[in-house]
């Protein structure tokens, strides 16, 4: 059970897919202007990641090497479509605001990365936990960035006013830059810097020697 706990917990802090592997940052930039969209996006990713990892792991011994990526992407893409349709049915206004970004989970490198590097070599239960763990790791980063952006960009959190803006007769002047996607880049950069200062072993100083095969992933 201990090893399963580590499979679940490790990717949240120690091996966070966003700060360690710098994966999945495209969507991290796009949906973090408000906390609500960041949370919905995160939940969608966790669902897709957990189910796709478990499914791929379940049939991993019968996936022919020559079509393995196609099989993985087919499964991931189908789940993404289903999640997108569920959002359009039950959370219509939020799905309007997330627009294409839910569909773009297909190209989120965390999903294919975990399928390739973990689910293809581990049991379904471990893969499920690994998927949830990595999804939670992604969630942590998205929520952190979205909190800063929404608080300083609009003075609200979850659409509840925290800092009264001057437009509403308060004292707080919103930072326009926080509303722009570029601010997510700066915040993410600062975050990666902070994490790697606290844990110097995550810094990529030892390159060019390649990381171990099992953790090698494409970046986006």
């Amino acid at each position: 059970m201990n090893i399963h706990n580590r499979t679940l917990v490790d990717p949240i802090l120690v091996k966070n897919p966003v700060t360690l592997h710098v994966l999945g940052i495209c969507s991290a930039l796009a949906v973090t202007s408000t906390l609500v969209t960041a949370l919905v996006m995160s939940v969608s990713l966790i669902v897709v990641l957990a189910i796709s990892s478990a499914t791929i792991s379940l049939i991993r011994k019968h996936i022919p090497q020559s079509i393995r990526l196609i099989v993985q992407i087919t499964i991931i893409a189908s789940l993404v479509i289903v999640v997108d349709m569920l959002l359009q049915a039950y959370l219509f206004s939020i799905s309007k605001r997330l627009s294409v970004f839910v569909s773009l989970i297909v190209t989120n490198c965390i999903v294919l990365g975990r399928a390739e590097s973990f689910a293809m070599h581990n049991s379904p239960l471990a893969s499920l936990l690994d998927g949830i763990g990595n999804g939670l790791g992604y969630t942590l980063i998205l929520v952190a960035i979205a909190t800063v952006r929404e608080l300083f960009g609009a003075g609200t959190l979850m659409n509840i006013t925290i800092l009264q803006t001057t437009a509403d007769g308060g004292w707080f002047t919103p930072l326009g830059v926080m509303a722009l996607p570029a601010s997510a880049f700066f915040l993410l950069g600062l975050l990666v810097w902070a994490v790697r200062t606290i844990r110097p072993e995550q810094a990529e100083l030892n390159l060019p020697q390649p990381p171990p095969q099992a953790e090698q992933e494409e970046r986006s």
């Binding site: 049939i59 011994k61 569920l86």
Partner: protein
């Protein structure tokens, strides 16, 4: 190897080496089949909810228009497009449009349309008219509502509630900033010629609306759909009748 018994056939299929051609094709087929089943079943099950959401979204837009213009609840009327007369029943029939008249690239249009009129009391003077419009943009059908003021030439609002244009470019047609360019524009000149158009760097022309950079074809699509729906194949006869009524 291939026996009639499906279970033993299945076992021997699974036992095949992964690189075997039959196994590769079989797995590809099975994965594709189960995934497409999953997607289609979800699509069919959720369709009623999707439709309800879209409709609700459209009606919400009307309320938004009404809200921004301030004033009462509009009356829903059915209008026979060809004659411009009111009708009580919608036969749900459509008329095919020949290519040269099909400005909005719709293929065909409904014979009876639902419009919303806001009048001064029952049967009073028309204050505002809201009509649904749609047409082909760059890569999707744009669906929206056009609101005209009492003179039936001044735009009160144009809003699109459904489209699938390029995010960040064409999709900006539903942003408040761009929608704000429309109110006050004149769709036609004094002689009734429909001149409204979306062009780049339009300046302050009465009939010109500034297009979005990078979304030229979305803009052209809007120009065409405006001209179609205000023209003889669209609400033309109906608008003419309303004008005659107001003049009388």
């Amino acid at each position: 190897m291939m026996k009639a018994n499906p279970i033993s056939w299945w076992r021997s299929f699974l036992a095949l080496p992964n690189e075997n051609m039959t196994k590769t094709l079989g797995m590809a087929l099975l994965v594709a089949l189960s995934c497409s089943l999953l997607v289609s079943i979800t699509a069919v099950l959720l369709k009623p909810l999707h439709m309800a959401n879209r409709l609700g979204h459209g009606e919400k837009h009307i309320l938004e228009i009404m809200d921004s213009l301030g004033g009462g609840l509009p009356t829903k009327r059915l209008v026979e497009l060809a004659s411009g007369q009111y009708t009580d029943v919608d036969p749900n029939t459509r008329t095919d449009l020949p290519a040269e008249r099909d400005l909005a690239r719709l293929g065909s249009r409904e014979d009876v349309a639902t419009v919303f009129e806001l009048r001064d009391g029952v049967g009073g003077k028309l204050k505002l008219l809201i009509v649904p419009v749609r047409g082909t943009g760059y890569k999707s059908t744009l669906k929206g509502y056009l609101a005209l003021k009492a003179d039936l030439t001044t735009v009160a609002a144009l809003t699109f509630y459904e489209h699938d244009e390029t995010p960040g470019l064409g999709s900006r047609i539903d942003e408040a900033e761009w929608k704000a360019l429309w109110p006050g524009k004149q769709v036609a000149d004094e002689n009734g010629a429909i001149l409204i158009e979306v062009v780049k760097d339009a300046g302050a022309g009465r009939h010109q609306v500034d297009g979005i950079s990078g979304a030229t074809r979305t803009g052209t699509g809007i120009t065409r759909l405006m001209r179609f729906w205000l023209g003889a194949d669209g609400y033309g006869p109906y608008l003419a009748r309303l004008r005659a009524e107001a003049g009388a």
